[in-house]
Structures are given as C-alpha cells and as structure tokens.
C-alpha cells in the first residue's frame, strides 16, 4: 500500500473504507465461488488488520484524539462526519480488526449455505463496529450503532440454530428499544445546546461542554444508560444474551461477545459519563451494585448450565459486571483496568466461543452430558481450552489477572466523593467472591468436558484441532500471555487517555455541582456561566444550559 496514504489525514476514513470496499467486491462475485468469496473477505479483513497498525504511529501520551477528520454533513442540524481515535478507542479498534477475520476464519467450513451473504454480513458488521468506535458525532455514532444490528440480526437469524428466529428477533427488539430512548435523549441534548449556544450540534466535543441541571442530567443519563446496559448486557437486561449466543453460529458468537458487548461499556465511557457527570456520579454506585449482582448471579447461573455455550454466555455477564464496577470506581487504575479487561474479555471469551464451536462442529451438540474424557483424544484441544479457561478466571500470568486485579484495587481505593465513597471496600469484598465462583463454574466445565473416562462412543475417534483452528486460536493465545506478562504495551497507550477522562470527569462534576448549588441559590445563569468557565479544562468555553429553557 502506498505509504503516503498511510500517513494521510484520512486514515480513519480509509479504515472504514476497506470493509466497505470488500463488501462491494464480494457483492459482485458469483455466489458459487465459495472459496474465492472466503479468501476475498478474509483477505480484506486481514488488510484492515494490517492497516490498523498505522494507528500506532501517533503519540497517545497527550490523552487526546488523533487522526481527527471533521467534515460538515448536515449543516443546519450541526451534524458532521467527525472521526477520531484516542487511547481508549485505539485497542477496541484493534480488537475489532483482529477478531473479525478470526471469527470468519473459524466459520470456514461450518457455514456451507449462502456463503456470499455471510461474508457480506461480516464485512458490514466490521464497518459498523469500527464506525461506532471512531465516531465523535452523536448522530454518526447512532447511525453506526444501529447499523450493527442489521448484519447481526441476519447472522443469528439465517445461519443460527434451531430457534434462531426467536433469538434474532429478541436480540433485535431488546437492543432497539434501548437505542430508541437514547435517540430521544440525544435529540433533547441537541435542543438544550441550541437554547444556549444558538445553533444545533451533534458534536461530542461541543456537547460535552454543556452543563446541564441535575434533574435533567438524571433523565438523559438514564435514557443513555438503558441503551448501553442492554448492550453490555448488565443484570437484569441480560436475558437476550444466552439466547442470542446459543442460537448464533460460532463466528457470530465470537463477534457478539468479543466486540459488540464492548460497545455498551464504550458508550458509558465515551458518551454517558462525560456528558452527564453529576448523574453518573449519583447513579454510578447503583450501576456498580448491579454489576456486582451480575458478577455473582452470572457465575451462579453459569454453574448450572447444561450447554457449554450458555455457560460461556453467562460467564460474560459475570465478567461484564467486573468491567462496569471498575469503570464507575472512577479511579485511574480502576478505569484503566476496566478498559484492559474489555480487551481481555474479547480475547478470552472470543477464544472460548471458538473452542466450544470446535466440539460443536464435530458432534453437533454442546451438552456437557455428551462429553467427558476428551483430554485423552484431543490433547491439544484440552491444552488450549484449559489455558483459555484459566485466563478467563484470572489466573496470574494470564491477561485476566491484570485486568481483574486493577479493577479490584481500583474499587478498593475508590473512596473519594467521585467514586464509591465509603462503599468501595464493601463492593470489593463482594466482587472478589466472583474470583471463587469463576473457578467453580469454569473447572466444572473443564471437568465435564475433559476429565473422567470417555463415556460416549462417538467421542472415541474425535479429531484433535485442525491446522486452521490452531491458526485461528494462536494469536489469541499469544495475547493471553502477552497481556498477562507485559501489559505495558497496552496500558501505556491507554492510560493517558484514561487519566484525561478521569480528570475531565472530576472537573466537570465539580462544575456541574457548583452550577447546581448556585441555581439552588437563585443566582442567574449568567453568573453560573462565568463560574463554569474556569474548571472546564477543555479547549472551548463551557456553556450552561438554562434550566428553564432546557428542562421545563
């Protein structure tokens, strides 16, 4: 590829263009050319993965956005095509570009019908996910956010299991309901901005300077949170997940767990928390509490599952609870740990779904009762599975430990007003029991699948991992130990953005609080505006939404 193009200012556009171009090419290929279709789509995705390495050329230590592109799109409404990547979204972009080809690659043989459409759906999905991670305009983000649903809906509904239509519709409606409320909240926010600034804007970097009265913040925050909490999914909005996972084909499950769930947390981090700091501080501990319930509840529910894929799905609920906890701890290492744990979960759970897919492809069942003693016939498979399972339960030396450890320390030391106050330690005590329960359900799964004598005749001649499967898993294995032993590669690039996020949040929280108490005092908004100028460390002056105009 032309090196000057790589250094161009349009790197992110290029990143979005590659899967789009791939989809375009695949669209015009004859459907009988299954082999060519697979090669082409994976080829485009690998090119995309390669291209994402040029993102590393920027220096992320300023905590700001890089490769920013901004083009006005619908001028009257202040909608722009605004892209940018910082230390927070950087690794999520990598996660997407790495796992999409792997997910397609492992489905190489299991998907035999409508290969063309399958490849198209994956390319579309990659485009939408990347778009959502790099959008800095709320409208643009919303477009990508909703665009994700479509290919995933078809992936589950067309190539899924026996109850695929039920699962697909459930997935679609669940997520749709949440996002509609978010849309309403976005429109309200833009209206409030218009009241103050005199023009409309969907630009995150402009909207985040808006200081919104407490009551309004709470409602808007709740609307955003619902959309994201469903996507994460957080207890009790998780019930679409086990169905979607069990019905989705392996590739779909991998993408769903590894990347799409991350968008929920990313939404908290990028939108809901910076826009509504007062509300998120007020409601954050409650969300963290639901996270803790999710940790324990998810682990218990995982323990009693009879289907391996369901077990992994519930383990996701448990893990995502940890991530939410770390995020709302609002300590630098808590948030950084949450971010790292997003990567870890993507790697480990992605690998687990691939591994469960391996035995499903051989036996067309995932019930534990159908297995046992596989360590004897599939030693490599057993080795890979045990390593991934151990990383999932956070054994030191693997990736899971670093993330979990940072989250738990972050929660334990989250004693300030911004954070959990006196509850940090109590939260840690309960959340840390998840460490025990994780071992319980994971070792249960390992015991059921691998140890003991072989009880089913069909298992006696199972083939061990094929070269293709090993090739798909090896990068993930490498990451498990890389992140576990030398996380600095990843943390060094994200921590400045995270620190920036925490400081920004705290400053804006203080500004909102001051504004709120002045409002209580009956000080006219003009005075409040003057006050709000100082604490905001951003590049544009803060604007204060008028309570009367915005809220009532």
């Amino acid at each position: 590829m032309n090196p000057s193009l790589l250094q161009s200012d349009h790197l992110l556009s290029l990143l979005l263009a590659v899967p789009a171009l791939g989809a375009f090419v695949v669209l015009f290929m004859p459907r009988q050319w299954t082999r060519a279709l697979r090669l082409t789509s994976v080829g485009f995705m690998l090119a995309e993965f390669g291209l994402s390495f040029s993102l590393l050329s920027a220096d992320y230590s300023d905590g700001g956005y890089h490769f920013v592109e901004k083009v006005s799109w619908i001028e009257t409404w202040g909608i722009s095509y605004h892209l940018g990547v910082d230390g927070i979204s950087l690794w999520l972009v990598f996660l997407t570009t790495l796992l999409t080809p792997i997910a397609l690659f492992v489905s190489w043989t299991s998907i035999k019908t409508k290969v063309k459409e399958y490849a198209l759906a994956f390319l579309m999905l990659e485009l939408a996910m990347l778009g959502a991670f790099v959008s800095l305009d709320l409208f643009l983000f919303y477009v990508f956010w909703e665009l994700m649903l479509v290919p995933m809906y078809f992936i589950i509904g067309v190539w899924g299991g026996a109850q695929r239509v039920y699962a697909a519709v459930k997935f679609f409606i669940y997520t749709m309901v949440g996002s509609l409320l978010m849309l309403v909240a976005i429109l309200y926010l833009v209206g409030a901005y218009h009241q103050v600034a005199g023009h409309y804007s969907f630009d995150l970097l402009e909207l985040r300077h808006l200081i919104i009265p407490r009551g309004t913040q709470i409602w808007l925050f709740l609307a955003f949170i619902l959309a994201f909490a469903i996507k994460v999914p957080m207890f009790p909005f998780h019930t679409w997940l086990p169905d979607a996972h069990t019905q989705a084909p392996t590739g779909g499950s991998v993408i769903l767990a590894a990347v799409m769930l991350k968008l929920g947390i990313y939404g908290f981090l990028r939108f809901a928390m910076p826009l509504f700091p007062l509300a998120s501080q007020l409601i954050g501990p409650t969300i963290a509490l639901f996270g803790i319930i999710g940790i324990i509840y998810g682990a218990w529910a995982a323990w009693v599952q009879k289907d391996a894929k369901k077990l992994v799905a519930y383990s996701s609920v448990s893990h995502m609870g940890f991530i939410a906890l770390g995020l709302f701890a609002m300590t630098e290492h808590g948030v950084n740990g949450a971010l790292l744990q997003m990567l870890n979960h993507g790697v480990s759970t992605g690998a687990l779904f691939i591994l469960v897919g391996v035995i499903y492809e051989r036996r067309h069942t995932r019930l534990f009762s159908e297995f046992g003693g596989l360590a004897k016939v599939m030693p490599w498979y057993a080795l890979f599975f045990v390593i991934v399972a151990l990383s999932s339960i956070g054994l030191p030396g693997t990736n899971g430990f670093v993330g979990e450890f940072m989250i738990l320390v972050g929660t334990f030391t989250s004693n300030a007003e911004v954070g959990f106050g006196p509850w940090g330690r109590v939260f840690t005590l309960f959340a840390a029991t998840g460490v025990i329960f994780a071992a319980v359900y994971m070792l249960h799964a390992v015991l059921k699948i691998f140890w003991g004598p072989i009880t089913h005749k069909a298992n006696e001649a199972l083939a061990d991992l094929s070269f293709r499967e090993v090739a798909a898993l090896l990068p993930l294995m490498g990451l498990i130990f890389w992140i576990g032993l030398y996380p600095a590669t990843f943390l060094d690039r994200s921590e400045d953005a995270v620190n920036h996020f925490v400081q920004d949040f705290t400053a804006k929280y203080d500004a909102s609080k001051l504004d709120d108490s002045l409002r209580l005092w009956g000080v006219p908004p003009a005075a409040a505006e003057a006050v709000a100028d100082n604490p905001a460390p951003g590049d544009a002056p803060s604007v204060v939404a008028d309570a009367a105009g915005g809220a009532r």
Binding site: K170, Y297, P379, G397, G410, W451, S517
Partner: protein, 897 residues
C-alpha cells in the same frame, strides 16, 4: 563473581524449570523418554546448583550489615496503579522483582533440593506411566511457580506463584484424570485454594491502600503504622494490621490446609506419590507459613490476629492428629499428619516464634517427603496404585531394608526423638509457647501460650503414636498379604497386593536414604541456645523475620536452663515417650487393631470418619449453594426473562389481539364500544375538575384553574371560609375568573415555614411554631453540624412573633464563605442563608409564609368540585427594628458575590 552475575543466576533459578516445563509440555509427547528425563531432572539440578551458589554468596556476606546480604533483581515493570493521596496521585509500581535473603534463600534450597531428589525418585516411580512427559512438565511448572512464590519480592509477584502452585496442584492431583474421583479431588483443592486466594487479594488491597507499596520490605517497614482503625463502609473492624493479617491468614488456611479449609489436602493424595511428597508435604503447603514469616512485622502488630492463628494452628494440629490415629492407609495417615504438622507451624507463628515455625517447615520438608516417598516405595513394591493398607502389610523390614531404614529415620524424627531434626524444631515451637505462657506482665496473652502448649503436647503424643502404629504394623511381624497369609485375598478372592513384594530400584531408594539422613541431621542447624550450642538458624533468620519482644528477650539472655525451657522439654519428651511406648505396647509384632478395640466404638468411628467434617460442609455449605445456583439458573430463565421479555411481548400481542377483536365488523361490537365511549365522555362532562395550579412570586400568588364547558369559579385565597373572589355578598356567587392573582398580607399566613433546599432540587418545608423545635437531621446536608448524639445542641428554630430565629448548632458554620459566630440567627421572610461548612455540602435556607387557597368550580350541570392548595409566599417583612440585622445581611451579600 560480580553482583550482576548473582542477579542473573537468581532469574535463571526460576527460568530453568519453567523452560523445562514448556518444552516437556509442548513437545515431550513426541520425544524420547530419555530426553524428557534429562530435561525434567537436569533443569531442576541446574536450578538447585544456582540456588546453592547464590545461597553461599548470601552466607559469606551475612553479618556484614544489619540487614544481612540480599540478592535482588528487577526484571521489568509489570504494571502500576496510582493511589490518590492528599497532594495528588502516588504511583505504585508493580515490578517483576525477585529477592533472595536468608528466609527465601533457605526456602529456595528446600524447594530445589527436595524437588531434585523427588524428581530423581519419579524417574523410577513413573517409569511406565503413559503420561511421563506430562508429569515432568507439571512437576517442573510447579517448581517454577513455587520459586516465584518464594523469591517474589512483592505481594503480586508472590501471588503469581501462589496461584501457580495451586494450578499445578490441581493438575497433578488430577493427573490420572480418567478416574473421576481424582479429577474431582483436584477441583476441590483448587476451589478451596481459591477461597484462600480471595483472602490474600483483600489482604493485599488493605496493605497497599495503607502503605502505598506492594513490596514486602516497604510493608514491613511501615508495619508500626498499621495500628490505625480499618473501616469497611462505616463499620470499624479492628485495626489495619488485624484486618490485613486475618485476610492473609484466610489465604494461608487454604494453601496450608488449616481449619476450616484443610479438607482438600487429604483428598489431594489421589495424585501420584511424588506429588504428595513434593507439593502436599514439603513445599507448597508450607507457603502459608512462609508468607506469615515474610510479613511477620505486620502480624506482630495485631495481637488479635496472632491469637487467632495460634488457636487455629494448634487446634488443626490436634484435630488432624486425632483423625490420623484412626486411619489404616499409609498415605491417608501421612496426609492428616501433614495437616497436623502444618498446624504446629502455625501455632509457632501465632505465639510469635516465627523462626521456630519456619525451622519446622525446613525439617518437616525432609522427614515428611521421606515418609511419603517411603510409602510410595511400599506401594510400588506391593503393586498398589492408590494406597497401602497397613493391616495388609507387615514384615517389610526384611523385604525392603533400605525403605525400612529411611522410614524409621523419618518416623523417629517426626515423633520428636532427641537428636533427630523433628525434635529440635518441635522443641523450639514448644519453647516459644512456653515463653509466652511464662511471659511477664506486658505480654498479657499468656493463656494463648498455655493453650498452645497443652494442645500441642497432646498432638505431639498422638503424632508419636500414629507414626509408630504405622511403623510397627507395616514393617514388623509377618507379611500378611503373602501367599497363604491372613490378608492374601480380598472379599472377591483377588490378590489385594503382590504376594511377593520386593525392594524398589535404586533410583527410588537412594532419594529415600538421602532424605532420611536429612531427617536426622538438618535439625543440627538450630541447636538449642540453652545448651550453649550454636543456633545458626536463629542467626540467619534474625535478618529476615521479626520476632516478638518476649522471644527476643529470651534469646538475648545468657545460655542456661530457664523455666520455659524445662517446661517445653518436659512436654516434648513426655509426648514422645508416651506416644511411642503406647504404640509399642499395642502394635509391636501384632496384626490386630488393639487401639480401636480399646476405644469407645462411637468415638473411634467418628475419628475414622474424619469427624464427618466433609459431610458437614456438604450439608451446610455446598448443597445449599448448589441449590441457590440452580435456583438462580431457573429464575433467570423464567422470572427475569418473563419480566423483561415475555410480559412486554405478551402485552404487545394482547393489544394487537384486542384491536383486531374490536374491528371485527360486527355491529354489536361497535355498539358496545360506542356505549363505553359515550359513558366515558359523559362522565368527563358531568363531573367538573378544578385542576388547580398556582405559582408564587414574592407575596403574590397567581392561580389557574382548568377551563371547561360552562365552568364558573369562586376563590377563597386564605381558606378562611369566606369566598374572596367574587366577593361573597349573598349566598353563592360564581365568577368567570379562572386565573386570579392575590397579594397576601401578614394576616393571611397560617404559619411560618423554613424552606430547606434539598439534594433533589425541591425545598423541604419545616413548619414553625413559637416554641423552639429541633430541625430534623434528615432535612439538613450531612456534615454541616456536629452530631447531636454526642452532646452537641441540635439546631432549632421558632417564630418569635416577628421574626424567625434560627438557633444554630455548636459546630463551626459558614454562610457561603464567612463564619457565623452568633448563636441565634434572626431571619426575615424572604431572606436566604447559605448554611454549611466551607468544605462540605452547603444548603440554602429561607423563611416563607404558609397560606392555603381554595377554589370551587361549578359546571353547567350544576355539579361542583372543590380543591385546595398550600402555598409558600414571601410576605414583605414589617420590621421596625431592621437595623438590628443590618450587619448580618451585608455580610451575606458580600459572600454571595
């Protein structure tokens, strides 16, 4: 050699077995057995060699400085966290850093040395196993993890090893994974260990948040500051030291098999015997003792934690020993014996004799590894895979002379026969307890000393008894499973054991003899100080381990016979004499269980059933938890899913269903719908609704009632019973004005209210009377006043006829920046006061007047409806003596700007 080379060597001590594990694990399956053996044993031998070199270097430098010599090396920074401090954030690095001092150096020698011997033994023991390469891979991985645990210089790195050894233990217990019970035992061990790991994590967090470092050296240095209280939420739970020590000790009970988490260790004997010897006797299970020694200054800061450890340790020693006397299988007896001996070590730690506890770790590694390997040698000889029943053995003294010799040496050692290693280390422990028991006044925990002394005395007696019971039954008399012997056939008529046992090969017996001689000689490193003999051990340890003042005082004393020393000797020698004597009397050259026959049947059965603790845990813990999990799984599929998916979807379906039913084209359906609609419309028109809304601005209130067909209104603004608009002249009169305004005067007020701004943006109303009433705490922001429960005056307010007087709390209160010094704060209507401390939440308080207004609506049907509303208005104050407050008001104004 330069310092750098030693640092390199330190890293290679760990890396060598790790590479051995990786190579054997990945490729051993395809390789020649000799290569696997060379790799497995060679890497450990090299590691042991390096450890010896490093330790020798330490010894030569010992005493050169106060701290003693150390070899420390930082490989790289793993990750870091940032703790919030007063002045910003404090970055806490978590380095991959290793440190060898006397404590970790000796432990490293034990791990690699005993590990090497056991590796060599395994060459013979595992010769024909199909998982030969896998076995050595796991064993090497274990050694690497154990070395990380021991050499790690901070808590997280230690924790890597701590969980790593747990993993290897899991893998090795379930090594013969095709037997479901073995795999289940592995799982049980891992989960029990994880419960402990939870404790270690929390302990670690407490320490780092208090000290700001994970390094052992920093934590120990800062230990005296850990006496501050530890808060969990708003509850105070002891001091930081107590909380940290007890959470860490929870970890120790898991790893080192103490009450209540010891139950995994006996089951762990399902693994191959070398594993039992190495992991579940000599090294891994002593990690808890190592950790407490490593952090001894922290533990010393908490007498509570020390007492807990002493009591739990000695109770574990006793309970496990009482189970061991009633078991018949060699490995089972040795397993409970291990639990019991670990109890001895913790009892030592608990009475503050850290050095003695760690000395016992050291000697125990030799004699217990020897005993396990000897049991393995016996099993190998009689052809049993799982265990060896001592009642089916006998006479092995002549058949297996080398195994016998080693077993005897180790048994004498563990029983505590003088001059053997176990005698010296056990005596040190008893001495520590006795010193605490006789300690003068400032050490008030004497009862702990006596308790430990007596309980350990009994446990030591039992130890000598069960060891020699096993020894006499297995090695004396005649071989009972021989062809024609009493136990030759089991109930199915099969040969239970090989009728012609034979001595094991040299690769197995030589390690036995090495360890057996170790069981004799290693105790001489720590000869009793009181005999005027050199105690090298205590000298080494003094650089790494803190000691309690009482022990320090005793050690500083002149060599000589002291009262505690005599007491401990009496306890120790009585125990060994009584124990061995009883075993000799009951079992020498006999084959029946005379102890069982002499005991009450029920009690013996309980002991044989391990006090049924496993069953108890099953019943009160595991089954309820499993039931709970099953319940959660069920409720998730039914209830949660129903609430969020099925009910909404059913509602959507239902509405569609209803809509289609109505649109069914039948006239009577439409008729029914129409009449229902008509009824609703009628009701809407016939009943009037005032829907009164009001807003106030100063003293003026503007009202608005709903408009409606033929509505007429009348107003009573002060709810005094007379209609004010239109003015009531004769009887009833309604007007058309639906949105009047009214200006209130002081006479209309029902009462005065304090309006206190609340978090949610609304005002809370507090109605005043002319008697002072305390302001409810719930209405005020937290922290602005002193807690009335500690004797401070509660704030109160009343209306004195002209003004509202706020009597403030005795706390220092500021009004937006300026301090208020007056106790009584007069407030006029409409005046605002911002109350609260400078640094905490502030709230706005103002005075208003409460009025009530009523509207009545009449519609064209003549139906009436009435509605009242309470309003707070701001009636301009009539204050002739306004100058009295002038100064106060200006201050507030200044502040406001």
């Amino acid at each position: 050699m330069s310092e750098l080379l030693y640092e390199r060597a330190l890293i290679w001590i760990i890396l060598l077995p790790l590479f051995g594990a990786i190579l054997n694990g990945l490729f051993g399956r395809f390789a020649n057995k000799d290569i696997v053996s060379a790799l497995g044993v060679g890497s450990v031998a090299a590691s042991f060699g390096l450890a010896l070199i490093c330790f020798a270097h330490l010894m030569t430098g010992m005493g050169a400085s106060e701290q003693g010599t150390q070899i420390a090396v930082t490989a790289y920074q793993w990750f870091h966290i940032s703790l919030p401090t007063v002045g910003g954030v404090h970055e806490v690095a978590i380095d991959v850093r290793f440190l060898m001092d006397a404590l970790s150096g000796l432990m490293t020698l034990v791990v690699t040395g005993v590990g090497l011997v056991i590796h060599i033994y395994s060459l013979g023991y595992m010769k024909d196993d199909p998982g030969y390469a896998r076995f050595f891979a796991y064993l090497n991985l274990f050694l690497a993890s154990m070395l990380i645990l021991v050499l790690g210089s901070n808590l997280p790195v230690m924790f890597v090893g701590w969980e790593g050894v747990g993993l290897c233990s899991y893998l090795l217990i379930g090594f013969w994974y095709q037997t479901p019970e073995f795999a289940a035992a592995g799982k049980k061990a891992f989960i029990a260990n994880r419960i402990g790991d939870f404790g270690v994590l929390i302990g670690m967090f407490i320490l780092v948040s208090a000290v700001g470092s994970f390094e052992f050296a920093d934590i120990n240095h800062a230990a005296p500051a850990l006496t501050q209280p530890f808060f969990l939420g708003s509850w105070q739970l002891g001091t930081l030291a107590t909380a940290a020590a007890l959470f860490l000790f929870l970890g120790c009970t898991g790893k080192s098999a103490q009450i209540p988490l010891y139950v995994w260790l006996p089951d762990a004997m399902a693994g191959p015997t070398p594993v039992s010897a190495l992991i579940h006797a000599a090294t891994m299970v002593t990690a808890g003792v190592y950790l407490t020694c490593r952090l001894s200054p922290v533990f010393l800061e908490s007498p509570t934690a020390m007492a807990v450890i002493a009591v739990i340790g000695s109770m574990t020693a006793l309970v496990a020993a009482s189970i061991a006397v009633a078991q018949n299988e060699m490995k089972k007896i040795l397993a409970y014996s291990t639990v019991s001996q670990l109890g001895f070590m913790f009892a030592a730690v608990g009475v503050g004799a850290f050095s003695a506890g760690f000395f016992h770790v050291f000697t125990h590694a030799f004699f217990k590894a020897c005993l396990f390997l000897a049991a393995g040698s016996v099993m190998h000889a009689v052809g049993s895979h799982s265990d060896a029943d001592i009642f089916k053995l006998g006479g092995l003294r002549k058949i297996m002379p080398r195994t016998h010799a080693a077993f005897l040496l180790a048994s004498l050692s563990i029983a505590g026969v003088p001059l053997f290693a176990g005698f010296f280390s056990k005596d040190e422990i008893l001495l520590g307890a006795a010193e605490l028991a006789y300690a003068p006044e400032p050490f008030s925990a004497n009862w702990v000393g006596w308790f430990v002394l007596i309980v350990l005395g009994i446990a030591a007696t039992l130890t000598a008894f069960y060891m020699f019971r096993m020894y006499f039954l297995a090695f004396w008399g005649d071989y009972r499973s021989a062809e024609g012997g009493p136990e030759a056939h089991d109930s199915d008529g099969h040969h239970a054991y090989d009728p012609n046992p034979h001595e094991s090969p040299g690769s197995m017996t030589w390690p036995l003899l090495i360890l057996g001689s170790g069981a004799l000689v290693v105790g001489w490193l720590g000869l009793p100080h009181e005999w005027g003999l050199p105690n090298w051990w205590a000298g080494w340890m003094s650089h790494s381990i803190a000691s309690v003042p009482v022990v320090e005082a005793a050690e500083g004393a002149e060599a000589g016979i002291s009262l505690p020393f005599v007491t401990s000797m009496v306890f120790g020698l009585t125990a060994v004499t009584v124990g061995i004597g009883a075993a000799f009397k009951l079992y020498f050259n006999r084959s029946d269980d005379r102890f069982r026959d002499a005991m009450p049947r029920g009690l013996y059965q309980l002991m044989a059933d391990k006090w049924r603790v496993d069953e108890l845990y099953q019943r009160v813990l595991l089954r309820p938890l499993a039931a709970l999990a099953a319940f959660v799984g069920w409720i998730d599929q039914t209830f949660v899913d129903m609430l969020l998916t099925r009910i909404p979807s059913q509602l959507a379906l239902l509405s569609g269903f209803v809509a289609t039913r109505i649109q069914n084209g039948r006239v009577y359906t439409y008729g029914a719908v129409m009449s229902v609609g008509l009824a609703l419309v009628t009701w809407y028109f016939v009943v009037p609704r005032p829907l009164l809304d009001a807003e106030t601005e100063g003293a003026t209130a503007s009202f608005e009632a709903a408009a409606g067909m033929g509505y007429a209104y009348r107003w009573d603004f002060d709810s005094d019973g007379t209609w004010d608009a239109p003015l009531q002249e004769h009887g009833e009169s309604f007007g058309a004005d639906r949105s009047p305004s009214h200006e209130y005067g002081p006479e209309a007020l029902k009462s005065h209210v304090l309006l206190i701004a609340q978090e949610d943006g609304d005002d809370a109303r507090f109605v005043l009377t002319d008697e002072p009433q305390p302001l409810p705490e719930s209405l005020l922001p937290a922290g602005w006043m002193e807690d009335p429960s500690v004797g401070a005056t509660p704030p109160s307010a009343f209306f004195d006829g002209e003004r509202v007087i706020l009597r403030r709390n005795s706390a220092v209160v500021a009004t937006t920046g300026a301090l208020v010094t007056e106790e009584l704060i007069p407030l006029s209507m409409g005046e605002r006061l911002l109350l609260g401390r400078l640094d905490t939440n502030r709230t706005s308080i103002r005075v208003g007047g409460l009025v009530e207004a009523t509207v009545e609506v009449e519609n064209s049907f003549g139906n009436r409806a009435r509605q009242s509303v309470e309003l707070v208005v701001n009636v301009p104050p009539e204050r002739p003596e306004a100058d009295a407050q002038a100064s106060l008001t200006t201050t507030r104004d200044e502040v406001l700007r």
